[in-house]
C-alpha cells in the first residue's frame, strides 16, 4: 500500500498546478469561453509541448504509457482551474477508443494527428431515449456493398464543433454495437450546436443517410471496449470533480474568514463552521473514492465497473452537497455570474449529468453487490 506519487508524478502535478494558476484565472477562462471552440489554442499547444496529449496512451501507440494515477493528476489540475480545454472529451475518450479498435492504417489517419495536437475528435455515444445507457442505441448502421450507411441522432456530443471527426456508436444488423468514425464534413451530417449550462461546447449530431467507406468502421463489436473507455472517462470525471471541489471549498473558507456581518467574520459562527467541516469531509471521502477509481482501471471488467460506479455515485452526491453549500455560504454573492465560485458550483452540480448520475451508478453497484 502506497499513496505516494512517484517523482515524475509529483513533477507533473507541480507543473500543471503552476500552468493552471498562471494561465487559467477567472478572467482568462472567461476570455477562453467567449472565443469559439478552438482546436488550436495556445493552451492546447502547451499541453502538446508538455506531453499531456501523449500521456494517456500506451507506448506502442506512440504515447507515454501513463496510468490511471497520471490521468487523475492531470484531470484534478484541470478541474481546479475549470480549464475549458476538452482534454477528456476531445482527446482521451475518442483517443482511447481508437487505440483499442483502430487498425494501423486508421491509427495513422486519426490517432497520430490527435496525439500531435493536429486535430481533436469527439465521441457520440449518447441518445435521448436511453438516458445514460450507452448500449441502448437507436442509431443504425447498415452495410451496402463497400459502404456503410448511418442513420440516427446523437445527443449532447461534447466538443462536436471543434472535432475533425466524431466517433459514433451504431446498432448493426448483427445485433452488435458498431463504432464508426464520421468526418465533420461528411454529407448527411447536421449539427445543432450549443453550450451546456456549465459552459462546455456541445451539440446534437443528426446522421441522415451518411455513407462511409469500409475503412471508417472501427469495430463491429465495440461494447466491451466502449465499457472500458467509459470507465476511464468516469474515473477521470471523478478526479476532475475533486479539483473543482477543492477550489470550491478553498474559496468558501476564504469568504467565511473575510466576510463580516454583525461586526464579526462569518467564520466565527459555529453553525457555519460545522457546515464548512461537512464540506471538507465530503471532499476527503470523495478524494478517496476518486483514488479508488483511478487505481481500478486495470481490474477485471466487473470489479472495475463495481468500484468505478461506486466512486461516480459517491462523488456525484458530494459534488452536489459542496456546490449547494458553497452557494449558500456565499449568500447572494454566490448566486452571481461574477462570483467565481458559482462557476464551480455549476460544474459540480452538472457533474452528475455526464456519463451517468448517482442513481444510475447506484443501480450498477446494487446489481454487482456481493452478499458475502
Amino acid at each position: 500500500m502506497d499513496f505516494a506519487l512517484t517523482d515524475e508524478q509529483r513533477m507533473l502535478e507541480e507543473t500543471l498546478t503552476r500552468l493552471v494558476a498562471d494561465q487559467v484565472s477567472a478572467e482568462q477562462r472567461r476570455a477562453m469561453l467567449a472565443a469559439a471552440p478552438n482546436r488550436d489554442s495556445a493552451l492546447w499547444r502547451t499541453f502538446a509541448e508538455l506531453g499531456l496529449l501523449h500521456m494517456p496512451f500506451s507506448e506502442d501507440m506512440g504515447g507515454l504509457g501513463g496510468d490511471g494515477t497520471d490521468l487523475m493528476i492531470i484531470m484534478q489540475a484541470l478541474g481546479r482551474g475549470l480549464v475549458p480545454e476538452p482534454y477528456l472529451a476531445g482527446l482521451v475518450l475518442p483517443g482511447q477508443l481508437l487505440a483499442l479498435t483502430a487498425n494501423s492504417e486508421q491509427q495513422t489517419r486519426w490517432l497520430a494527428p490527435l496525439l500531435e495536437g493536429e486535430h481533436q475528435l469527439a465521441l457520440a455515444w449518447q441518445e435521448i431515449g436511453a438516458r445514460y445507457d450507452a448500449f441502448t442505441v437507436a442509431t443504425q448502421a447498415t452495410q451496402q456493398g463497400d459502404q456503410w450507411q448511418l442513420n440516427g441522432k446523437k445527443y449532447v456530443v461534447l466538443n462536436l464543433e471543434a472535432a475533425a471527426a466524431t466517433l459514433v456508436s451504431a446498432q448493426l444488423a448483427s445485433g452488435k454495437l458498431g463504432l464508426f468514425i464520421v468526418p465533420a464534413d461528411a454529407p448527411g451530417t447536421s449539427t445543432h450546436l450549443y453550450r451546456t449550462i456549465d459552459d462546455q461546447p456541445a451539440g446534437d449530431l443528426t446522421l441522415d443517410s451518411v455513407t462511409l467507406p469500409l475503412t471508417n468502421c472501427l469495430s463491429e463489436d465495440v461494447s466491451d471496449v466502449l465499457a472500458e473507455v467509459l470507465a476511464v472517462g468516469r474515473a477521470a470525471l471523478c478526479a476532475q470533480a475533486i479539483g473543482a471541489m477543492e477550489e470550491a471549498c478553498d474559496q468558501t473558507l476564504a469568504y467565511l474568514k473575510e466576510r463580516k456581518q454583525f461586526g464579526v467574520p462569518l467564520s466565527t459562527f459555529q453553525a457555519l463552521q460545522h457546515r464548512m467541516v461537512d464540506m471538507h469531509l465530503h471532499l476527503e471521502q470523495s478524494r478517496s473514492m476518486a483514488i479508488l477509481a483511478a487505481t481500478s482501471l486495470a481490474l477485471p471488467a466487473s470489479e472495475r465497473d463495481y468500484k468505478i460506479a461506486a466512486a461516480k455515485a459517491y462523488c456525484g452526491e458530494s459534488a452536489r452537497f459542496i456546490a449547494e453549500q458553497a452557494i449558500q455560504l456565499h449568500g447572494a454573492m454566490g448566486m452571481t455570474e461574477e462570483c467565481y465560485v458559482a462557476s464551480y458550483a455549476k460544474h459540480l452540480v452538472m457533474f452528475d449529468h455526464y456519463l451517468g448520475d448517482s442513481d444510475y451508478h447506484l443501480e450498477t453497484v446494487s446489481e454487482l453487490l456481493k452478499v458475502a
Binding site: 449518447q126 435521448i128 431515449g129 438516458r131 445514460y132 445507457d133 441502448t136 445527443y155 449532447v156 450549443y194 453550450r195 451546456t196 449550462i197 456549465d198 456541445a202 463580516k260 456581518q261 454583525f262 461586526g263 459562527f269 453553525a271 457555519l272 452536489r320 449547494e324 452557494i327 449558500q328 449568500g331 447572494a332 454566490g334 448566486m335 452571481t336 455570474e337 461574477e338 458559482a342 462557476s343 458550483a345 455549476k346 452540480v349 452538472m350 452528475d352 449529468h353 455526464y354 448520475d357 442513481d359 447506484l362 443501480e363
Partner: protein, 397 residues
C-alpha cells in the same frame, strides 16, 4: 378537527378556477409553464386583468380597494394561480410597500400611492440590502442627510429585484449615524427618475438579469416622501417582514413543481420503463411528497391561526425554511429526471425571445431553474437567519 374547506370556501375555489380558465392569456401561462422569464408587458397585461377583476391586491382590506379576503381565501387564490401557471404578481408594490404605507404612511401618501399601485401605474422596487449589509440588514450605511425640505441620499443598494423596470424605490436609509444601529434608520420613497440614481444589472448564475445594484449619488428626496417618523424605518421594515407571511412557504409553487415532476418522470424512459418506476428515483419523489403533505398541513395551521386573529410570527420562519428546502429539492429532482437532457443551455430562449423546437422548449428551463431556486434559501432573510429567529423567539434559546 377537520381539514376540509367550508362550502363557501369551496365555492370561492371554484370561482377562482373559473376566472383563471377564462381570463389568463394562454401565451403568458405557456411562458410561465416553460420557465421563461416574463417581459414587462407580460407582467402588466396579467396584472391589469387582475386589477380589473379587483383581485390584484389580494392582501388589501376593502377600504383601500382590495377584495378584503382573509388568509384562507388568499391561500386558495395563490394555490390556484400557481396551478394555472399564472405569473406571480410583482410583490414590491402590492405586497410590500403598500402595507407599510397603509400602516405608517400619511393620508396624502395613502391617497397618492395606493391607487397608483392598484392601477399598475407605478412599478416599485426594494432598496434594503447593501454590499455590507445582507443578513445584518440593520448594518446598512446608505446615508440620508437632512437639507431643508429634502434629504440628500448617498450610498449603494443591491439585489434589487426587477429594479430595471421600476419607477419607484422604497429604501431604508441611515438618518442618524450616532443612534443605536436600528434606531437611526428611516424609510424613504424615492422616484427613480431623480438625478443621481444609477441602476446596474447583476447577472445571476442562470444567466438571468433579475437583480440589480442601485447607486445613489447626492439624490434629493423630499422629506414628505418619508414614511413614518424619522428613525422609525426599522419598525416599518420589521412590520413588512412579519406582515401576512402565511404564503411564504410557496406551497402552490411546490405543488405545481411536484405535479410537473411526476408527469415528467412518467414519460421519461429508463431502461425501457418509466423513470418513476425506478425504485431509487421513486423513493426520492415519495420523500418530497411526504414533505409537501406535512408542509401543507403546517401551513394550514398557521393560516387558521391567522384567520382566528393570531399574528403569524416566527412560524413564518419555519414555513420559509421548509418551503424553500422543498422547492429546491423538487428543482433538483426535475433536473435529475431529465438526465443528459438537462445539459443544453439556451439562454436566449429562457431570457429572451428566441424560439426553440417543442421538445427542447419543454426541458430548457430545468437546470437554470435549479440554480435560480438557490435564491429561495438566501433572500428575504437567509435560512440561517430564519433558524436563529426560531431559536430565539420560539425556543427561547
Amino acid at each position: 378537527m377537520n381539514l376540509t374547506f367550508s362550502p363557501e370556501e369551496q365555492a370561492f375555489h371554484e370561482q377562482v378556477r373559473r376566472f383563471l380558465a377564462d381570463s389568463l392569456p394562454s401565451d403568458i401561462s405557456e411562458r410561465v409553464r416553460q420557465g421563461r422569464h416574463l417581459r414587462v408587458d407580460d407582467h402588466l397585461r396579467w396584472q391589469n386583468i387582475l386589477s380589473e377583476q379587483g383581485w390584484l391586491a389580494s392582501n388589501w382590506p376593502k377600504e383601500f380597494g382590495g377584495p378584503g379576503w382573509g388568509p384562507v381565501q388568499r391561500h386558495i387564490f395563490d394555490e390556484e394561480c400557481a396551478a394555472a401557471h399564472a405569473p406571480t404578481v410583482v410583490p414590491f408594490g402590492v405586497n410590500m410597500v403598500a402595507p407599510v404605507i397603509m400602516k405608517f404612511g400619511s393620508i396624502e401618501q395613502q391617497q397618492h400611492y395606493l391607487p397608483r399601485i392598484l392601477s399598475n401605474q407605478d412599478w416599485w422596487c426594494q432598496g434594503y440590502s447593501e454590499p455590507g449589509a445582507g443578513s445584518d440588514l440593520a448594518g446598512l450605511n446608505t446615508r440620508a442627510v437632512r437639507n431643508g425640505d429634502h434629504y440628500i441620499v448617498n450610498g449603494q443598494k443591491t439585489w434589487t429585484t426587477l429594479g430595471q423596470h421600476a419607477n419607484m424605490l422604497f429604501c431604508l436609509v441611515r438618518t442618524d449615524p450616532v443612534a443605536k444601529k436600528q434606531a437611526g434608520i428611516s424609510f424613504l420613497l424615492i422616484d427613480m427618475q431623480t438625478p443621481g440614481i444609477t441602476v446596474r444589472p447583476i447577472i445571476t448564475l442562470d444567466g438571468a438579469h433579475e437583480v440589480n445594484e442601485i447607486f445613489l449619488d447626492n439624490v434629493r428626496v423630499p422629506v414628505d416622501n418619508r414614511v413614518g417618523e424619522e428613525g422609525q424605518g426599522w419598525t416599518c421594515a420589521k412590520f413588512l417582514l412579519t406582515h401576512e407571511r402565511t404564503g411564504i412557504a410557496g406551497l402552490g409553487h411546490a405543488k405545481q413543481a411536484l405535479r410537473h415532476l411526476k408527469s415528467l418522470a412518467s414519460r421519461i424512459q429508463h431502461r425501457g420503463k418509466p423513470l418513476l418506476e425506478l425504485a431509487s428515483f421513486r423513493q426520492r419523489v415519495v420523500k418530497a411528497e411526504l414533505e409537501l403533505m406535512a408542509l401543507e398541513v403546517t401551513n394550514l395551521r398557521v393560516i387558521a391561526a391567522a384567520r382566528d386573529g393570531g399574528v403569524p410570527g416566527a412560524e413564518s420562519s419555519l414555513l420559509k425554511v421548509r418551503g424553500s428546502e422543498l422547492r429546491q429539492e423538487l428543482s433538483e429532482l426535475t433536473r435529475r429526471a431529465l438526465g443528459p437532457a438537462a445539459l443544453p443551455f439556451f439562454p436566449d430562449f429562457l431570457h429572451g425571445d428566441d424560439s426553440l423546437d417543442d421538445e427542447r422548449a419543454q426541458n430548457a428551463a430545468a437546470s437554470a431553474q435549479y440554480f435560480n431556486r438557490r435564491k429561495l434559501s438566501i433572500y428575504g432573510g437567509a435560512n440561517e437567519i430564519q433558524k436563529s429567529i426560531v431559536a430565539k423567539t420560539i425556543l427561547n434559546m
